[in-house]
């Protein structure tokens, strides 16, 4: 393509013959990916709704313990764990598979081969997740954070994943020669990293558990890297693709892309250890984890600058493009949550924020405000190309965006404040008026719980808003599929019809 020519006008209107040929090629590739991508998207949507329901139940229970108190399967321990696993392995991973497959095929300019592999993998993965979630609700969960699926569910998941990794390598292998775009680096790395993480963690924690100081290290190496080396690369690959694609502008700098990618690959792997600050681990291991967390500022800032400079001058487009709106919200959240995450690894701040609601807010900031929002943006772009139908309703997209965006903002801000209060009260000290001796104020657990109550309620409120957003999305998704093709227009959905902007390419 016109790689040397970077002017906006030329990018928007490449030579007509060339552009037509490219569109025909992309169209054929998209059709070849339709069956598996569509399967993963539908599965993701189902898990999103299930995970949201679990989340609401868990959130209500925290300020109203009697809620569903008689239901054995829905104790807080079961339902919170079911929420985590169904959104992480059900929603987020299925969505990541769909987006990764679609992007990988497009960027490799290769029609999808070996659909059978993906069909089997998709089926196995979702059966595995279903067995695992039911197992958790039955009370069979392991005690290992992020690996709570009972051991009888996980081999199926691993087989599924190995098949997808294999498929990605095959597709990449058959790519058209030429420059490998930054999104592909992230996709290929993520599809290689995740099975590595998952298999080693399963073996070292579930099937032949490591003992002593090694066990928590493996646990947090895995749990944090699921975010950093699986969801983050898929999310960044999506931003790197959709941002310039929707804007019709090139990415600002190849060098910043490379700096961001390699520094992520180098530093992230160590960062999870900061969850063990204060724990029984050799000092140097903890310090190395903290240093790696701080160095994560480099990839985050490099990537953030790269995206921001690409975006500058085009913020008006946020008014009408649904994809851009979700993607930009996700990209900004990525920068924020990562910088806060680096700060949380510093010993003095960790002492305050660790083991409080602050960490919970941070996790949702990353997995929801960043990753999930980016996936929504990607789905808004992909669906018209997979189905040949347009999104039928701009108002439903607005409802989806605003309820989710405002909801997650209330969630993160409210719970972070609540977490800080909780943290301050737990490490507060008192001074003896006579002797002047400083001692740890022994906190009354119930007092602290009461002080965090308003923030737990704000979390439930945010949860209700997010649920409304998800329902709007689900209704819209089904509506899009059910509407007769004749009725489906050929005009793109535009969030702001009167905006004086070029026709949306969303």
């Amino acid at each position: 393509m016109s790689s040397a020519d970077s002017s906006l006008a030329a990018s928007l209107k490449p030579g007509p013959a060339e552009a037509t040929a490219e569109r025909a090629l992309l169209s054929e590739i998209d059709v070849s990916t339709r069956r598996p991508v569509f399967f993963f998207l539908c599965a993701a949507l189902v898990w999103l709704l299930a995970g949201t329901a679990f989340a609401l139940i868990a959130s209500f229970k925290l300020h109203n313990p009697a809620f569903l108190g008689q239901a054995e399967w829905l104790t807080f321990g079961n339902v919170r764990t079911a929420h985590l696993n169904s959104v992480v392995y059900g929603w987020a991973t299925n969505a990541a598979f769909a987006v990764a497959i679609w992007l990988m095929a497009r960027l490799s300019r290769a029609q999808l081969r070996h659909l059978g592999i993906l069909d089997v993998a998709g089926l196995f993965w979702n059966v595995g997740v279903a067995i695992g979630v039911v197992g958790i609700l039955r009370g069979d969960s392991t005690s290992i954070e992020w690996l709570e699926f009972p051991a009888y569910a996980t081999p199926v998941l691993f087989v599924a994943y190995a098949l997808i990794g294999l498929w990605a390598i095959i597709t990449f292998r058959f790519r058209q020669p030429g420059h490998v775009y930054v999104s592909q680096w992230y996709l290929l790395a993520a599809l290689f990293w995740f099975p590595w993480l998952y298999s080693i963690a399963q073996i070292m924690l579930v099937f032949a558990p490591a003992r002593g100081a090694v066990q928590p290290l493996v646990n947090w190496w895995f749990a944090h890297n699921v975010l950093g080396l699986w969801f983050t690369p898929i999310g960044l690959a999506s931003i790197y693709y959709f941002l310039p694609k929707v804007l019709g502008k090139p990415i600002h700098s190849y060098y910043l892309s490379a700096l961001g990618f390699w520094s992520l690959a180098l530093f992230y792997n160590w960062a999870g250890v900061h969850h063990l600050i204060g724990g029984p681990e050799p000092a140097w291991v903890i310090t190395a984890g903290i240093v790696a967390s701080l160095l994560m500022v480099i990839p985050v800032v490099a990537t953030g600058i790269n995206h921001h400079v690409t975006m500058v001058g085009s913020f008006g487009r946020l008014k009408d493009s649904p994809t851009l709106r979700f993607i930009v919200f996700g990209g900004v959240s990525y920068t924020l949550t990562s910088l806060i995450g680096s700060a949380m690894a510093v010993r003095s701040f960790n002492e305050l924020a660790h083991f409080t609601h602050f960490t919970v807010a941070h996790a949702h900031h990353g997995l929801y405000a960043f990753f999930t929002m980016v996936m929504f943006g990607a789905i808004y772009y992909m669906m018209p190309r997979l189905t040949g139908r347009e999104w039928p309703s701009a108002p439903l997209i607005s409802v989806h965006f605003w309820f989710c965006a405002v909801g997650i903002t209330i969630y993160v801000v409210g719970l972070k404040i609540g977490g800080l209060i909780q943290g301050w009260e737990m490490i507060a000290t008192t001074t003896d008026p006579q002797t002047g001796e400083v001692a740890l104020r022994v906190p009354l657990f119930l007092d602290i719980v009461k002080h965090t109550l308003p923030y737990l309620v704000s979390r439930s409120l945010a949860g209700v808003m997010i649920t409304i957003g998800h329902l709007a999305f689900a209704v819209h998704f089904v509506w899009m599929l059910l509407q007769p093709r004749a009725v489906a227009g050929t005009q793109p959905v535009r969030l702001s019809p009167d905006a004086a902007l070029p026709a949306s390419r969303a």
């Binding site: 310039p244 019709g248 000092a283 140097w284 310090t287 005009q491 793109p492």
Partner: protein
């Protein structure tokens, strides 16, 4: 070799209006950014060095610094002498004295219930440091066909702590209930017998053994 998609596909309206595939420009990042990254890497390295606990696997307190902080000294948690002693016993003593502490009748004397072991510590400290040779009577039985090797400078050259730990272990295992042996006592005995160049014999130790 690919799955067949024989029909030419009509691009969807969405395809017909979409922008070309993305690419990247070659803008070099600002030198200020690279400089700041370097500063961050450099200061992180300083932090790692400062709070590494000397990269010692037994140092759990990141404030410990300086070289030569050996495992087992101050910074690391004090080890339980019985636990360490048992490990030393398993590695060095079980071949003859057996895991049960019963030895082999007629060849290797027992440690369980032995009057030498639970008696005056002066005797067994000397035996550990320099070894024992010749006939010896233990719990009423005669032994003497095998020699007890030295673990002090004549043999394995153990430090005072190791000798104290293994002795404390055998004095408190298999129903033995004698007080622990401290490294300080071992050090005192070692100093008092510094000139000795061969293993002890039972009569030489009789004064300690019978004075229990």
């Amino acid at each position: 070799m690919s799955d067949a998609h024989p029909d030419p596909v009509e691009p969807t309206p969405a395809h017909q209006r979409e922008n070309p595939e993305p690419h990247e420009q070659q803008h070099f990042p600002s030198l200020l950014l690279l400089f700041l990254c370097s500063v961050l890497v450099f200061s992180s390295a300083l932090y790692l060095q400062r709070y590494s606990g000397n990269f010692d696997p037994l140092v759990y307190n990141e404030e410990v610094q300086g070289t030569g902080v050996a495992a087992g000294s101050g910074a690391a948690a004090a080890a339980d002498p019985v636990v360490v002693g048992k490990k030393l016993y398993v590695q060095n003593c079980v071949t003859c004295h057996q895991a049960t502490g019963q030895g082999l009748p007629g060849t290797y004397p027992p440690l369980a219930g032995s009057d030498w072991v639970v008696g005056n510590e002066e005797a067994i400290i000397r035996i550990l440091i320099h070894g024992l040779t010749g006939p010896v009577k233990v719990s009423g039985m005669d032994y003497g066909s095998a020699a007890m090797p030295a673990f002090g400078p004549l043999g394995s050259n153990w430090k005072d702590e190791k000798i104290a730990h293994v002795l404390t272990y055998i004095r408190q295992e298999w129903g033995n209930k004698a007080p622990p042996v401290t490294p300080e006592t071992v050090a005192r005995v070692r100093a008092a017998t510094a000139n000795r160049g061969k293993a002890w014999t039972a009569p030489e130790l009789a004064e300690f053994h019978e004075s229990k």
